[in-house]
């Protein structure tokens, strides 16, 4: 880390993690300064201020100077996520169309894990007594049939007031087609209940489907009174300390937005933290010269899989946060329950299982010695020699191999025999398979071939699995960022400001429709331009992308096509091709339906490139010692494997596997013939040795 002087103006990114708050500053010359300090989960703002003070001191600047010369201050926050996870949101009221009070609670009558019919649903965010109907009706065409009476709305407001409601969501039938009735309700509510947060579905998520829209609007109301005051206080405090610009926040879609703009849609912060983290992937794409990446981030409880295609993080229209559905554009993170603490065992029919239960932080894996006696993935890694025994994290954690082995032995010897190594190897292989299935799911859903992608290993345990998984999937290149936390904050520094605007269409594709689509797209672009103007962008530094979502009539999962100017023949041709690419079939006789359109309005911050260091000469990396390690899942013995110390390694160092690199917070394992090299920025770039005919399925 450099502690030299930095040149104004600079940009600051702050990512608040569970343990550390990471700060990155990029100055006008592209020099990077990174700083890390402990988070304060009870009041994250304190952790942020602490990081700023620490960074200022390190740079020999006053806090006022550090903030005063900051041109863009970008922040990824987990506040909204935590409100939803901990169910600590506001007392929320909901206004629905008369007759549809229970849309939220009926939940479309669907249970994804149907065979598990005994597990209760979590309570909905608004109890029935606060879901109040209003006599009104909008038709599917957008034509009003019955307008809500002002007196009726005022009566509902009084009920809410008496109940101490802090926020109100309004979601009326067909409001995506015409939001006028919702606006009438909102105006009266705002007048009758000053200070109470009011949000309407037609502004927040104008999509067809009253359940999804209601759920999203309710979530927005539920988090707003907990999230917005906190962020405003933080913004005020930063201004008081010298920040001259608005605080920018990372949304679930990965784009940044001003605090003023997010005030209408705080639910768009539901994945702010992880989305900010994924910003680093775009940057890795730049570093590797391959903008197609798949990342596996494996921590204690889970493995998050994300795809970056041509530099864009894959997106989804809906996310579920602890059973609360939020239909706002978001980065797509596919999570499976495969993490270091995942418990393994033998079922009552004699087969092995890995998960879904986890040991958590306490008691944690058996090898922690905190009372856990069930073997976990971490125990298996330790027993195979892949993880080092002894103390970690400055002595706060100690891994005891004998505890791992005895837990494995007690659990598996009746089925797999005395060799605990066999059991451990089997567990690793099964968990690798689960990770492969997850990668297939996120890539095949888009018709992508993982073999053309770089696999990025992140999180405490990602780098232990990444090389073997890549080999199994025919992926030739693996990347392990050295300073993951800093990378997130760095990626955020380059996040663009972004607004997504959607409109439901729901009509057959033909020439007339195409003409009106062009008008609709322009209207959305104009709306986006107005919002970007409020963020301080001029047309010179804004960019618009247009997407048309289509399906064969009757299908439920539309395919999005990026378009410039809608044209019938062109859309038809491209849709058929895309359908064939993803699903291996096309239906040339089927009518095409345009489900909706979307415009992303992007305000581009000037890109800060890293100052590129010189490319070093390759030189063999120093080996610290050799350790007995069992490498693959095949039945087989152990080898003496070279162990390298991460902090010793510098750009240009390389090693040919098998080898292990030990970093403070992660361990990298490469297999026979794999070649690991430290890139000019200090990251691990690994070429995977694929044998010819390497399986891509097993």
């Amino acid at each position: 880390m450099k502690t030299t002087s930095v040149r104004a103006p600079w940009r600051i990114g702050i990512d608040v993690g569970g343990t550390f708050t990471d700060l990155v500053l990029i100055d006008s010359a592209g020099e990077v300064f990174a700083y890390k300090s402990p988070s304060e989960p009870a009041n994250p703002a304190n952790g942020i201020l602490r990081a700023l003070e620490g960074a200022a001191a390190r740079l020999d600047l006053s806090l006022a100077a550090l903030l005063g010369d900051c041109a863009h201050f970008i922040h990824g926050t987990t506040v909204a996520t935590n409100v939803l996870l901990e169910r600590k949101g506001a007392k929320t009221g909901l206004i629905t169309t008369k007759g549809f009070r229970d849309t939220l609670e009926i939940r479309r009558g669907y249970r994804e894990l149907m065979w598990d019919h005994r597990t209760p649903w979590k309570d909905v965010l608004v109890p029935r007594s606060l879901r109040l109907p209003i006599d009104e009706r909008m038709l599917a065409s957008g034509e009003p049939e019955r307008t809500p009476e002002a007196g009726d709305v005022a009566a509902l407001a009084e009920t809410f007031r008496n109940e101490g409601v802090e926020a109100v969501a309004v979601c009326l039938l067909h409001a995506y087609a015409n939001g006028a009735h919702e606006q009438i309700c909102a105006e009266i509510l705002r007048r009758e209940m000053p200070g109470v947060y009011v949000t309407v579905s037609s502004e927040l998520a104008p999509i067809v489907g009253e359940f999804e829209r209601t759920s999203t609007t309710v979530a927005n109301a539920y988090v707003a009174p907990r999230v917005l005051p906190y962020l405003h206080e933080l913004g005020e405090e930063l201004k008081r300390l010298g920040l001259k610009r608005d605080l920018l926040l990372v949304q679930s879609n990965g784009g940044a937005v001003s605090l003023e703009q997010i005030s209408k849609r705080p639910a768009a912060l539901a994945l702010s933290g992880p989305a900010a983290g994924l910003a680093s992937l775009r940057h890795i794409g730049e570093l590797t010269g391959n903008r197609n990446l798949i990342s596996i981030e494996i921590g204690g409880t889970s493995c998050d899989v994300t795809v970056v295609n041509a530099g864009n993080v894959a997106e989804t229209d809906a996310i579920s946060v602890d059973e609360t559905l939020i239909c706002l554009p978001s980065v797509e993170i596919h999570t499976i329950g495969t993490g270091g603490g995942t418990i393994c065992g033998v079922d009552d029919g004699g087969l092995i299982f890995v998960g879904p239960e986890g040991a958590g932080a306490k008691p944690g894996p058996a090898c922690y010695g905190l009372g856990g006696d069930k073997p976990t993935l971490t125990d298996a890694q330790l027993a195979l020699g892949r993880l080092r025994e002894g103390s970690y994290a400055g002595g706060s954690l100690k891994l005891d191999k004998s505890l791992a082995e005895s837990a494995l032995h007690a659990t598996f010897s009746p089925v797999l025999g005395e060799n605990t190594g066999d059991a451990a190897a089997a567990i690793i292989r099964l968990s690798d398979l689960s990770i492969q299935h997850a990668i297939e799911k996120v890539s095949l859903v888009r018709g992508l071939d993982p073999a053309n992608y770089v696999l990025v290993g992140a999180g405490g345990a990602g780098a232990l699995h990444v090389a073997d998984v890549a080999r199994k999937m025919g992926m030739r290149r693996v990347f392990v960022p050295r300073l993951a936390g800093v990378f997130c904050a760095f990626g955020m520094c380059n996040a663009d400001v972004r607004h997504d605007l959607v409109k439901t269409i729901g009509a057959r594709l033909d020439g007339t429709l195409c003409e009106s689509l062009e008008d609709e797209l322009r209207t959305l672009e104009q709306k986006g331009a107005v919002q970007l103007a409020k963020d301080g962008f001029t047309l010179n530094d804004t960019r618009f992308t247009r997407q048309v979502e289509m399906c064969y009539a009757g299908q439920q999962w539309p395919i999005s096509l990026a378009v410039e100017k809608p044209d019938v023949a062109e859309l038809r041709r491209r849709f058929d091709e895309e359908h064939e690419r993803i699903y291996a079939s096309r239906q040339p006789d089927a009518a095409l339906e345009v489900v909706g359109i979307r415009v992303s309005a992007v305000g581009q911050l000037p890109v800060h490139h890293l100052a590129t260091p010189p490319v070093p000469e390759p030189i063999a990396a120093p080996v610290v010692r050799y350790r007995s390690v069992r490498l693959t899942g095949e039945a087989g013995g152990r080898e003496n494997v070279a162990v390298l110390s991460g902090p010793d390694l510098e750009p240009g160092h390389f090693v040919v596997g098998p080898a292990i690199v030990e970093e403070a917070t992660t361990t990298i394992l490469i297999g026979e013939g794999d070649r690991l090299e430290v890139d000019p920025f200090g990251n691990y770039d690994i070429a995977i040795a694929l044998s010819s005919g390497e399986s891509r399925n097993g």
């Binding site: 549809f100 669907y110 249970r111 149907m114 489907g209 439920q556 239906q587």
Partner: protein, 571 residues
């Protein structure tokens, strides 16, 4: 010993493949019944026709697919070739469960050796017969229910036989949907074939074949282990319908469940003779219903393959409602009598393990309407918003509206907004009922008040199974859920008499359905007072019912609990 590892690996891989087949089907099919409601199942069988992976699909399809693969082997076993695709549906001749479910079966070869079958069973939008949308409640013979498909070769060398293709489309009122949907089915089996071929390349055919049998053995031992948790004994159960579709008549399904160590005999001797209407079961469907009853009661993570079924002996006397003789109609069987079969077994098992018992889910009472859409194509609309409430179990109240027990909640109810865009209807209400749920420590699902105006003349197939007798039975002192009610009025508000079952053409009408509520579990006096108060505040339990049924006294004005009075009521 390494076998356990390989078996686990391959089982995970095969389940992944059948799920992937389902995923392709759901995204490429065009009928709402697949793309929205997932009324299909993808599965993989071994070369003998034994199901090895049934990881995808709705519960009532569980296990029945084996009969279909066996029929393919019987009719074409000696001449199967790579690139063949078969289709079948007939429950009497071809191992089908009921006519609307068409099954696509593709043999998978390794070289010239038959290794497996990839299969997709899916409920078609329309197959001809006496009513649009496959449910002809007037049927008295299978010939009234639509086209019967024996095992037919639909493709050879992966090329469609166009004569057969045209026959299929010609016999449907919705040929455009059949075209897209059956292509999607074929595509899903092709994806399964490709993935299995890759497995063969990696592991070799011998390993795969031996692992298939290890996978089945594993499921068998899981099932035996689960069965050994039941106290040995002979437990009886009965659940009845009150109609044969033409008149009021008791149609009981009677079962004796005999548990011996780690096996179970499920004997339907004594059940009603087959009936005139279309609620007769095929053998394939009865087996499926038995598996749903046992697996949903015993545990959720037993692999649902042919191995798990080995310790289960089923006796279904021919000529009864659970194993009807040709030419009895049977399109309704996946719902009724499947529901009666499941409930009879649940009631028997409740005697064995009361704590684990499941209260009854309401039987549905609704209708299907069909007519011509704006473009002249036939539309078929299932009035799914009137789905019944579920029964309670210990630890969970019933859910308000969740399809029927045969799907266990695996079918999604479409949004009202989508229906209003697609069909000539205006829906006015879809809300939880008050005081309908079976009372209990855990109360039943409320059921739904549903009101709709159908704006154009249409044809209706009424299916009012739950509208005469309450069907959401209670457990351990829990109450029975209220029955359903259906009222139909014309534009002037005059009532129209509609049958419990039957097909009618009607002018524009208003329909109001109060759907069946689910049964409760346990003594209602043990329900926590704050939960009763919440139900009252929510308007799903009245102040009177709180007092009478739950022993909780609540002031209707202040909505506060009178604690001394409550203590006295509950004493």
């Amino acid at each position: 010993m390494a076998d356990a590892i390989l078996t686990t690996l391959l089982q995970n891989q095969l389940d992944h493949i059948s799920q992937q087949m389902g995923w392709v089907m759901q995204r490429t099919a065009r009928s709402p019944i697949f793309s929205e409601s997932h009324d299909f199942s993808c599965f993989i069988a071994d070369a003998k026709g034994q199901l090895v992976s049934v990881a995808d699909g709705i519960p009532i399809h569980t296990g029945g697919g084996g009969f279909a693969v066996e029929a393919v082997l019987r009719d074409f076993g000696s001449e199967l070739a790579a690139g063949d695709v078969f289709i079948l549906s007939d429950p009497y001749e071809a191992g089908g469960n009921h006519l609307p479910d068409w099954t696509i079966i593709r043999p998978v070869f390794a070289g010239d050796r038959l290794l497996a079958f990839t299969c997709n069973r899916a409920h078609q939008s329309d197959i001809g017969g006496g009513a649009a949308g496959t449910y002809n409640s007037d049927a008295t013979e299978i010939f009234h229910e639509g086209i019967r498909l024996p095992v037919m070769k639909l493709a050879a060398g992966d090329a469609l036989r166009m004569d057969v293709w045209r026959l299929l489309k010609l016999n449907s009122r919705c040929p455009h949907l059949i075209d897209g949907d059956v292509r999607a089915m074929i595509g899903s089996t092709k994806v399964g074939e490709r993935r299995i071929a890759a497995l063969v390349e990696e592991f070799g055919i011998e390993t795969i074949e031996s692992t298939f049998s290890a996978i089945l053995d594993h499921a068998e031992s899981r099932m035996r282990h689960a069965l050994s948790g039941l106290p040995p004994g002979r437990y009886s159960g009965e659940d009845a319908s009150d109609t044969d579709c033409f008149g009021t008549v008791e149609v009981p399904v009677r079962v004796n469940v005999e548990v011996q160590a780690d096996t179970v005999k499920v004997d339907f001797t004594g059940s009603a003779a087959q009936i005139a209407g279309f609620k007769n079961s095929s053998l394939a469907n009865t087996y499926s219903a038995v598996y749903v009853a046992l697996l949903s009661f015993l545990g959720t993570d037993i692999p649902r393959n042919a191995g798990a079924f080995r310790p289960v002996e089923i006796i279904a006397p021919e000529g009864t409602v659970v194993n009807a003789r040709y030419p009895a109609p049977m399109t309704s069987n996946t719902v009724y009598p499947a529901t009666e079969i499941i409930y009879a077994i649940w009631k028997a098992l409740a005697k064995a393990l009361p704590e684990q018992a499941c209260a009854g889910w309401g039987k549905a009472a609704h209708c299907i309407s069909s007519g011509a859409d704006a473009g002249g194509d036939t539309y078929v609309m299932y009035h799914m918003h009137a789905y019944p409430g579920t029964g309670a179990v210990k630890g969970r109240d019933g859910l308000p509206s969740l399809g029927t027990v045969i799907t266990l909640g695996g079918m999604q109810i479409p949004n009202v907004e989508v229906f209003e865009r697609k069909y000539p209807v205006r829906i006015h209400r879809q809300e939880m009922r008050c005081d309908a749920a079976g009372v209990g420590e855990f109360r039943g699902g409320t059921g739904i008040d549903y009101e709709v105006s159908v704006l154009d003349p249409a044809t209706y197939s009424f299916r009012g199974e739950g509208s005469r007798t309450p069907s959401g039975f209670g457990i351990l002192g829990g109450g029975t859920g209220a029955k359903a009610d259906i009222a139909v009025r014309d534009a002037d508000g005059a009532g129209i008499d509609v049958p419990q079952y039957g097909v009618q053409s009607l002018p524009p009408v208003e329909i109001a359905i109060s759907s069946t509520a689910g049964g409760g579990w346990g003594d209602p006096h043990k329900r926590p007072v704050d939960k009763v108060l919440r139900d009252v505040r929510d308007g799903v339990v009245s102040v009177d019912a709180a007092r009478m049924a739950y022993g909780v006294s609540i002031d209707p004005v202040t909505m506060s609990v009178n604690i001394p009075e409550t203590a006295a009521l509950r004493a």
